[in-house]
Amino acid sequence: MATVNLDHLAGRRLLSERDRSIGYIEEIIAEWDGEDLVVTEFHVGIFAAFERLSASTIGTALLDFFGLRRREGLYRIPWDKIDISDPARPRLLCSDQELSGFKAGSQRRKTSR
């Protein structure tokens, strides 16, 4: 059974197939599937720590204040499009074209809790 430490993914740089940097892994989304908690998608963006802090209203207020929330380049990438078998070097498994389809809109906050 292959296992991987999800905590090691936090803040890692994600590289595309052509070694282009996409951003940093900001958050890992999981959902209940019956008894199991399964990883469904990864949030990849340019700021590593802010995702955690956004739980607080002031965090988001700060992001808004600095205009960081409507930043380009936040991706919500489904679990099967990233190879995480080596958590120190996560890799994107799809083309740049497909990737642009994962670009998050402004409604991305809705996923919380």
């Binding site: 991987v4 900001e26 399964v38 990883v39 995702e51 739980a55």
Partner: protein, 119 residues
Amino acid sequence: MQLLRDILDKQVVDREQVKIGKVDGLVAELRQAKPPRVIAVELGSIALGRRLGAVPGRWAARLVARLSGKRQTRPHRIAWNKVRDIGVDIEFDIDVRQTKIFAWQDWLREHVIGRIPGA
């Protein structure tokens, strides 16, 4: 659920509400053609060391091995299916006394703290 925000680093308590530690690591199982499944949380200095990087992780493991007298040591794990409640704290349906998580505290009690009068 946001794993990094809502699970990682949260306080872990056992079924008696005893504070065991924080969620120092989060382990998932990679499956063929199915999404990764969370199978355990990790606790302890080795897990923490690894989060700081590979080198501190190795130091921590070596130190723990030296102190515990074992050749190789791994972080403590609690199976995810024991989870009972996820709130500000995360409660697991275990009894910490039946795990090895507090082995070092027990050692400390027996060899150091317990020997000082009045403990």
